[in-house]
């Protein structure tokens, strides 16, 4: 076998082995609808501010599905640059004198360290602990 053919053989073997190793995994997709909170006598903007703050503090990011929609999304990663292993949506909906906020969470287990339920509980707690509209960034 010449050195060139040995090199080609080695490359093919490496490619084959790594291709096998990168076959799709079977994790488990966990989804829950978390607790819903209703707040009276507060503006809709308060809900958006709290939703954004809760997602940022829990998942380190937050963005609105559409400007003014009141649907706030967060994405969780186990490391910077890794694929999303969890995600959450906080939906704000106006009521007569205030608003309702609902929490939907999903986690891929593994690698997500949180279940969907624990993520939603964290978001719910952070939402209620967040400063009122005007105090949020």
């Amino acid at each position: 076998m010449t050195s060139r053919s040995r090199t080609a053989f080695f490359a093919a073997a490496v490619a084959g082995a790594l291709a096998l190793g990168s076959a799709p995994a079977r994790a488990s997709l966990d989804t829950v609808i978390g607790p819903r909170t209703t707040v009276e006598n507060k503006p809709f903007a308060d809900c958006s501010a709290r939703a954004k703050a809760a997602l940022q503090s829990t998942m380190q990011n937050a963005f609105e599905a559409g400007a003014g929609s009141g649907e706030w999304i967060g994405v969780g990663r186990i490391a910077a640059g890794a694929d999303a292993s969890s995600s959450a949506v906080i939906e704000c909906h106006p009521t007569g004198t205030g608003y309702a906020a609902s929490f939907t969470c999903a986690a891929e287990i593994p690698p997500s360290p949180d279940t969907a339920a624990s993520l939603c509980n964290k978001l719910y707690a952070a939402f209620n602990a967040a400063p009122a509209a005007g105090g949020a960034k």
Binding site: L18, P24, S28
Partner: protein, 222 residues
């Protein structure tokens, strides 16, 4: 300098680095879709609830209300998924009362690349079913691989250390031994976790035939 041409060595190095990068990346990801919202100025919450259940059940299974009276409906899939290991999609429909009529929103999640369609495609079909619009057929899931494969642990396993120990692992992530003792399995990449007299971390061999680690060695019949 060795006899191996430098161009060939560079090629091998780049190939190795590229493939290694593709392997070390997380092998699956959570894909989320939200933002579709319908406002109905007439209609009741009961109507919303009925349509929510029907539209979810058209594409997913196990449709249920997250809490009685919450008007938040959730379902999982794809159709035919038989256990946690096979669940790669979910959808939720939220009904909100309005001064006149109701508002309904849709959120979907898909695990990529295992799920055969995206979260956006799922949510669009659920929403269109809700509103009575035409839907685009979703791809059906590929058959679950059986035998020696690297995507799951389904099959019959024989301990290499103790011939009496045999494990049957099912498509739902469950396992049962020869005495009827049950446990669970989960696979992520080539890392397996067996819950069987405690939690054990094992590695699946590249040919999908051997599991080893934590003092256990198993061979799959295939």
């Amino acid at each position: 300098m060795s006899r191996v041409p430098s161009r060939a060595r560079t090629f091998v190095a780049l190939l190795f680095a590229g493939l290694l990068a593709s392997v070390t990346a997380a092998p699956a990801a959570v894909d989320l879709s939200t933002g579709i919202r319908y406002v109905y100025e007439s209609g009741t919450m009961d109507e919303c609830a009925t349509k929510a259940q029907a539209s979810l059940s058209a594409f997913l299974q196990n449709t249920h209300e997250s809490a009685a009276g919450s008007m938040e409906w959730i379902a999982e899939g794809p159709m035919g998924a038989s256990g946690p290991q096979m669940l790669t999609a979910s959808g939720t429909v939220h009904c909100y009362a309005a001064a006149k009529g109701y508002v309904v929103t849709f959120t979907c999640v898909a695990e990529t690349p295992a799920n055969p369609y995206t979260a956006d495609a799922l949510c669009l079909d659920i929403a269109h079913t809700f509103s009575g619009k035409a839907v685009t057929p979703l791809p059906t899931p590929s058959p679950v691989p059986t035998g020696c494969n690297t995507q799951n642990l389904i099959g019959d396993w024989q301990s290499d250390d103790d011939p009496k120990v045999k494990l049957k692992m099912d498509s739902g992530g469950g396992l049962t031994d020869q005495d009827g003792v049950s446990g669970n399995w989960i696979l992520y990449g080539d890392s397996a976790n067996l819950t069987y007299y405690g939690d054990h971390k094992l590695k699946l061999s590249p040919d999908g035939k051997h599991l080893s680690g934590s003092g256990y060695h198993f061979t799959r019949k295939c």
